[in-house]
């Protein structure tokens, strides 16, 4: 593109005198580079939304640091003991591990434009199914196999209802929440089923190099989730299907099959979580993993996952879960009530969403506008 050229032969009807004054002629720089060279926006700052996610995650790390500082200030006696601090970090990560695994699956579903309200119920059903007397007789392998197969199957049913049965995700998974807990109660006869399997229970009590096995599992699932989302065709399809299902469809992506797989993936995570939770509690019952769906959705949201789909990060979700676990820990070590803890959690969810909506830029605009109107 070249600079504006004045036509040498203007029409008679537009004599030079009539010609409007060209206000502020085109800048010397070629217009082709306009925009890219806009102020405060060096090259490479536009690497997708990665920069934005990075900033948000940094914000979450900041929140974590603040929480830990509050802990240090309120309980200097405990934080003075480095052994205790190490144990406490592991305790927080262990507390975050089960919900964390569920949240990874939830993050995929939400990025893919859906929602899975049945995760807690699937964890309970898989946990109960894998701890019946009959299943336990097959040993740890049988229990793990059962939990995972049951959870994936339930996820597939969810996905099938949503993708091919055209049910709204909210409705389908809400129905599954009720049904799966019902089935879990039926199987367990409303009893708490104790796990007598030392291998399973050992998952929660054993360490490797001072780090609990549960934390390794969380790390493994998170790493796998990150790779899956950011480095594979599956992840790419997830973003496409959630970001613009019509565009994905018209680009030849099988949107329905992919949505179904997303719910199966969520189910898989629930199956893994069921084993972890069973190991932690040495038991399973129909009421276990109560409201995990809300914990997982909340963690994903404060981690920056867009509820409408198409955007989200695994790291953000992980940070969200860890923040919640740290709050629980902070309140526990200070002997404060669960009620206050829940209120703070609610506040953090709202604050996180608000921060997402009104970013820093908007805030400065808001201030500028107020200043403008006050001078007027």
């Amino acid at each position: 593109m070249t600079e504006r050229t004045e036509t040498a032969a203007p029409a008679a009807a537009a004599p030079p005198a009539d010609r409007p004054t060209p206000v502020s002629p085109a800048p010397a720089g070629a217009p082709a580079h306009k925009g890219a060279g806009a102020p405060g926006n060096g090259n490479g700052r536009w690497s997708g939304d990665a920069g934005e996610s990075f900033r948000r995650n940094l914000g979450l790390v900041g929140v974590l640091v603040v929480l830990i500082i509050i802990g240090i200030i309120t309980r200097p006696d405990l934080y003075g003991d480095m052994n205790w601090v190490g144990d406490n970090i592991m305790s927080i990560l262990t507390l975050a591990s089960v919900v964390g695994v569920v949240t990874v699956g939830m993050t995929f579903v939400i990025i893919g434009g859906g929602i899975d309200l049945s995760v807690g119920a699937i964890v309970a059903l898989a946990g109960v199914w894998s701890t019946t007397v009959a299943t336990q007789s097959y040993g740890a392998g049988g229990m793990i196999f059962t939990a995972i197969v049951v959870a994936v199957c339930v996820g597939l049913v969810n996905g099938f209802l949503i993708s091919y049965g055209r049910l709204v995700p909210f409705i389908a998974t809400l129905a599954m929440l009720v049904a799966a807990r019902g089935l879990a109660a039926e199987i367990s006869d409303k009893q708490t089923q104790v796990s007598n399997n030392a291998t399973i229970n050992g998952i929660a009590s054993n360490d490797i190099l001072g780090i609990p096995v549960l934390v390794y599992i969380l790390a493994g699932v998170v790493a796998a989730g990150w790779v899956l989302l950011n480095r594979t065709t599956f992840g790419r399809r997830t973003v496409a299907v959630g970001g613009n299902p019509e565009a994905a469809r018209l680009a030849g992506i099988n949107v329905r099959r992919h949505s179904m797989l997303l719910y199966a993936l969520s189910g898989l995570c629930c199956g893994i979580a069921a084993i972890m939770l069973t190991a932690q509690a040495n038991s399973a019952q129909a009421a276990m993993a109560n409201l995990y769906e809300l914990d997982a959705i909340a963690a994903a949201i404060i981690g920056g996952t867009l509820l409408s789909g198409g955007r989200g990060t695994i790291v953000g979700s992980l940070l969200g879960v860890i923040i919640f676990a740290t709050i629980t820990n902070l309140f526990a070590i200070n002997g404060l009530s669960t009620e206050a803890q829940n209120m703070v959690k609610g506040g953090i969810i709202v604050a996180a969403v608000l921060v997402q909506q009104f970013r820093f830029k908007s805030l400065t605009q808001l201030l500028a506008r107020n200043k403008l109107s006050s001078t007027n």
Partner: protein, 360 residues
């Protein structure tokens, strides 16, 4: 499906080997089989019933036919499950009792609706464990007005006109008993300033507050106090989660009271996972698993204070007597009393064997 007894040794292995062959056919078959909790001994669990032995107690002799309507929440908790089971089992003992149970639904409103239906069927007596005493007070009144005596189980109606008999456990007394046992143990160990933790049940329930109040009051008498308290939700996984944090908050502890033996499975798991053993733990309610653990004396759990679901069995027996117009034979009065509060008993290693049959 019968009740699964977690600590009973698994006996019927041959049957499951058969199932193993079937599993080769496909995971579906395996998974279906895996829903089985049948221990194979045929008897199922251990309902707490009083045999109808008319030679020992003339009241047990078959008499006028009594239709007893029953309603209790179907919550996913061992204690509540035991309530329903005990009631059913006790009713079966009497040949003159017809037992009619209605589902209580998910909340007070659903139970209210179910009760209206029950009242319209005119049973002789209604035994109910309300979702919430206050919210179902009106249903109690309605039944009483219709001439049907109401036996309230465990969760009191505020209005005395709403029930004929109230039989309940002693939540405050539980706390007191737990506090007393811990106090004795501390004294025996010579600990003058013990660090005491508490894992409560669902905090929004009245009974949790009563238990904690009794515990705190008894400890105060001894000059002790609770150092940290976490509220779980009567489930093992929440018990584990809260206990893991409590253990972190109290790096050294002398005693711990856990309100509920069901969530205690998780609490004990957390204790084991944290490798802690420097304290004694007291349970609550008196589950069979807890009683057996106390008898075995191989964990931190040294005692549990009862809040027995056996009250449901007693409620059925007394409802029958009310229906037949009889009194309790050991009492002078010709009618059943209006209120019965069970004492909370403390089960320790010494007396555990006597309580095994009452464990749920």
């Amino acid at each position: 499906m019968t009740q699964h007894d977690p600590l009973r040794p698994v006996r019927d292995l041959s049957r499951r080997r058969l199932l193993l062959g079937g599993a080769a056919v496909g995971a579906g078959a395996l998974l279906t089989a895996c829903t089985s909790n049948d221990t194979g001994d045929g008897s199922g669990g251990n309902e707490q019933v009083k045999a109808a032995d008319s030679s020992a107690n003339p009241n047990s002799a078959p008499g006028q036919k009594v239709v007893i309507g029953f309603s209790a929440p179907a919550a996913d908790h061992g204690w509540l499950a035991a309530i329903t089971k005990n009631a059913e089992a006790q009713a079966k003992v009497f040949s003159d009792v017809e037992f009619k149970t209605v589902a209580a639904g998910a909340d007070a409103a659903a139970q209210r609706a179910a009760l209206s239906t029950l009242i319209s069927q005119k049973p002789n007596v209604i035994v109910m464990l309300p979702h919430d005493g206050k919210e179902l007070n009106a249903s109690g009144l309605e039944a009483m007005k219709a001439g049907i005596p109401v036996v309230n189980l465990d969760r009191a109606f505020p209005d005395a006109l709403a029930y004929r008999l109230q039989i309940k456990g002693d939540n405050y007394g539980m706390g007191v008993a737990a506090g007393r046992y811990i106090g004795e143990q501390m004294k025996a160990k010579g600990i003058t300033n013990p660090i005491i933790g508490e894992i409560a049940g669902m905090d929004e329930l009245e009974l949790t507050k009563e238990r904690s109040a009794g515990f705190a009051a008894e400890l105060a008498v001894l000059g002790f106090k609770v150092a940290n308290r976490r509220a779980a939700r009567f489930t093992a996984d929440t018990g584990q989660a809260e206990a893991s944090q409590l253990l972190r908050a109290l790096p050294k502890m002398d005693a711990l009271w856990n309100h509920d033996d069901d969530q205690g499975i998780g609490v004990l798991a957390a204790v084991k996972q944290a490798n802690r053993s420097e304290f004694i733990m007291v349970g609550g309610a008196g589950s069979l698993a807890a009683i057996q653990a106390i008898a075995a004396d191989n964990s931190v759990l040294k005692a549990t204070v009862t809040y027995s679901p056996s009250m449901a069995s007693s409620a059925i027996s007394l409802a029958r007597l009310i229906g037949q117009g009889k009194g309790m034979s050991d009492l002078v009065e010709l009618q059943v009393p209006k209120e019965i509060t069970l004492a909370s008993e403390t089960i320790t290693k010494e007396n555990a064997s006597a309580y095994t049959k009452l464990g749920f």
